[in-house]
């Protein structure tokens, strides 16, 4: 499993661009918002966490279609599926998700505080948003894995994955954003939505890979 993790990380770094594409897209989304909304600093600060979350969510979806497709194209996926008895396929998928997250999504989380400055957010809000992103984005990857596994055989599956996955990520988005607000807006709680967010991630860490493994097993046509 470690071998698979290292391989995918290496591929992500070497085959170029997965991480960078996401970050650039994230930057593009966040950088255009102030121009669209106008120079109302208060308003920007108020919608900041939500915009950061939406930007990160969309950037996460961007690279998801390659999660299994690259492996399918060169035949590795067949062998990963055949290894089911030795390395449970759900664990294989989980490992691939973690590698994908570390390679493509973690850079987004790291870039988020910087982009938070664009939105005139205060340090506490930026910290809270980055923390919720750190905890919440794995959930998006896990849901995305199930979507990617369903759409793996389709040549232009990226769009379908986004359409499939987006509704399922809404709870993650809601609790992520409300936890981020909770840190700054006084009466709102931070801990409760944050804990629900963490629970969602843990729950989906099981459900996502298991359903993705099922889809892959029946999709090896």
């Amino acid at each position: 499993m470690l071998a698979l993790f290292l391989r995918d990380i290496r591929l992500n770094i070497r085959a170029g661009g997965g991480a960078l594409t996401g970050v650039i897209f994230f930057l593009a989304v966040i950088a255009t918002i102030p121009f669209g909304v106008g120079p109302d600093l208060k308003l920007l600060a108020r919608i900041g966490p939500a915009i950061l979350w939406i930007g990160a969510l969309l950037s996460c979806l961007l690279g998801l279609d390659r999660l299994f497709q690259a492996d399918r194209e060169d035949g590795s996926l067949d062998l990963l599926v055949l290894g089911n008895d030795r390395n449970m396929l759900a664990l294989t998928v989980l490992t691939k998700c973690l590698a994908h997250w570390a390679g493509s999504v973690l850079p987004l989380v790291i870039a988020a505080p910087l982009l938070g400055l664009f939105m005139n957010m205060e340090p506490l809000g930026i910290g809270a948003t980055a923390l919720t992103l750190l905890v919440g984005t794995p959930a998006i990857t896990f849901i995305g894995a199930a979507g990617a596994a369903v759409a793996v055989a389709l040549p232009r599956g990226g769009l379908l994955i986004s359409v499939l996955v987006l509704p399922l990520t809404i709870p993650v988005l809601i609790f992520g954003v409300s936890a981020s607000y909770g840190a700054t807006a006084n009466p709102d709680p931070f801990l409760q939505p944050f804990l629900i967010l963490a629970a969602l991630t843990l729950f989906l860490a099981v459900l996502g890979p298991v359903s993705a493994a099922l889809a892959l097993r029946h999709g090896t046509d």
Binding site: A3, R7, G75, S76, L80, V81, G83, D85, R86, T220
Partner: protein
Amino acid sequence: MRLIAENLGGERGGDTVFSGIGFALEDGQALVVTGPNGSGKSTLLRVIAGLLPVAEGSVKIEGVMKIEDGGEAFPSVASACHYLGHQNAMKTALSVAENLRFWRDFNGDGQLDVEEALESVGLGGIGHLPFGYLSTGQRRRAAIAKLLVSHRPLWLLDEPTAGLDKASEARFSGLMTRHCEEGGMIVAATHLPLGLDGAKALVMGEAG
């Protein structure tokens, strides 16, 4: 250990590609599957491996390897086989050695070292090159080296010699012969003679 297929049928997209295929392989035996394009050779291999559902009949593996051979019980055909498909299952961005080392770690049951395996397919000394730099024949040979780095008693080979030159073909038939002598089994789908002495033959695409 025996690989037994009884009255096996396979389908693709709802159409029956073949049916009524039966064979039994014992330790050290090879089966060469031939037949025209579209007669279902690749489908047969994928059905045996368990990548495609069995439409009718059954395929199973019986008997376990002797423990003193370092063997273990194989719960399914998939866990006992190496599947070499049309694609090489190697990443072009990684070096040949990195690719092989990954499959060695992932598949377990390490047999040869990466260097040794590359030597035996005649690719010694190029392990550091990215897989993408290799020619078609070299890629195929690197994929064959993948069969050697971890041990599996059953090799399922789909057009294994596609793109290989004469010398490599001869070297590969040597490797297959040695695998059989060590008690392994081979099911190969091919158009070209593989140079396997005493291999059983299965011709597909004919009635029955």
